[in-house]
Amino acid sequence: MPNPDQTLTEILNLAAAHFKVSREKLTPDDDFFKTLGIDSLQTLDLLTRLEHHFHIELPDYELQGVSDFRTLADRIQARL
């Protein structure tokens, strides 16, 4: 099982690849709606990709109000 830092790094890598932005532009405390310029439907796409990567299921309602990578990583880590 990856440790929390590894999980966070993997999420940032995947988000950068998924939305085709430079990895250097993303930091853990970024509001991903703003940094990536995405809306809630596009966020759901990213979550589906993260689910496949980590082999977990993230309910939409559990992620209501989550907008930064660090909190997202915490929620994912809790399910690993």
Binding site: F33, G37, D39, L44, E57, P59, Y61, E62, L63, G65
Partner: protein, 569 residues
Amino acid sequence: MLNLDQYSCLGVALRDALERWPNETCLIEADRDREKTRLTYSDFKDVAMPLSRALEDAEFNSGDRAAIIMTNQSKWLISAYAVFYRGGVLVPLDYKLTAAEHLQLLAHCKAKFLIVEYHLWRALTQSPEFKSHKLKKVLVTEAPLKADLAGAYRWEEFRRKGEPGFVARQREDVVCIVYSSGTGGRPKGCVLTHDNYLEQCKSLTAWYPFWPGVRYLSILPTNHAIDFMVGFIGPFVCGACVVHLRTLRPEFVRDAFVRYKITYVSLVPMILKNLERGLRAKLDELRGAKRFLLRRMIALNKWLTRKRPRVSLSRKLLSRVHQGFGGELRAMFTGGAFMEPSTLQFFYDLGIPVANGYGLTEAGTSLTLNDLKPFRADTVGKPLPGVELRILNPDTEGIGEVAVRGKTVMSHYLDDPELTAQTIVDGWLLTGDLGRFDGSGHLQLFGRKKNMIVTEGGKNIYPEDIETVFEGLPVKEYCIFAANYLWPAKTLSREMLVLLLRLEQNQEFTSALREELITRNRRLPDFKRVGGYLLCGKDFPRTASMKIKRTVLAEELRKILDRAALVEL
């Protein structure tokens, strides 16, 4: 359907519904492709009664306020019924608000009880404003086993044996306080009575009836006036079934139509537009004879349904399209924002009527709705039975502010007599929306009064009206503002319209896009043309029903951009 005239309050009507259709399914809840809950009306009663009894034992009494902050799910409706059973007042809050906003509204409505999902409760407890809350009891749903509930109770364990005492209310008593999604910072708590809801339910079901076997897919938030009515009260007093999905991922929403053979659904214009885009892409993939045949069938369907919808016939002619929606879909409802006529027409031509309507929280749910006799894509329909509308101070084209009077109009704004007096004048609720009636009694909307401009030639221009010319523009989102609205000036002269553009991620503003703007702008009469554009670096703030929060957006823009940023077209 129950005869609603005989009831004094929502609690009695719902209680009778549970007795009338004990074996009919009333709720289905699915998470992705897994069904989690399926309840008959009798099961619903069995779950709600112990909760209502526990509320009674916790001294939740007639007139006490209970707030709900939950996503769409069965426990939302069960909790609401338990509150109504005790004669309580429900305060449905938008789950998409921030914790600070939730706490502000909880304090404003003086809620005694709160029913909330665990993840939202966790956010509330972590907010700096949390310590000052004055809630007496909090019930938390779906909390993990070892979670720290910060003094709250588990919803699933908050139940007591024994028959709860039913508390009947009168029609004029308050049953809900609903915060309007208006864009101001001041909380606007619309105080609604039992009479408001019972009368609204009667008018809506007169045109779009429910019956046992009908399945309504609940996607809009239940705290929203529309879903509360057509995704709870309406179906329940008719013995119909509500389907909840715990995810809004498009692939599962599509599957739900088919798996549960959905009859009705309400959608915000943005989601409807997404559905249209997906469907158009699929239809465009067809080649050769299949493409030719489909086009012929659509043309034939269009001709056969020109006077009224003929859903059974359309299902036969365009069976593949209808099967994609489960084969039982009778109508989709939309409203709450300006809907593009071409989208409504697209679905109607496929034999799927989209009933466009117009309403506001202050007036219950809906004031007008398309009655499909015949279908009209360019209006928001006719006033529902019992709703009286008039146009105040119409100009030479018949356009003026829409005012409404009727039994569905709220009692007042909570603790705000000043705002109430400004909004309800001589018994008429002033909507702030501009409209006119056409010769056939259909209401056409032209925009919000406040963002309207009057040209030097004395003509009224409605930015929302002009947005339709830019429909389908290849950008992420756009909207029109009056420049003087963004940067207030004390003169109406030299007024101009501004097109605000939000580009897609990594999209560049190209000369081709500029040409497209110019071409479209030229389609407008000269006095309505857009004078320039602004590029916006962030997504537009939107309400729960996906309307652009124009006031908030204007304020944000004012801070970061000035007139110099405007690029003339």
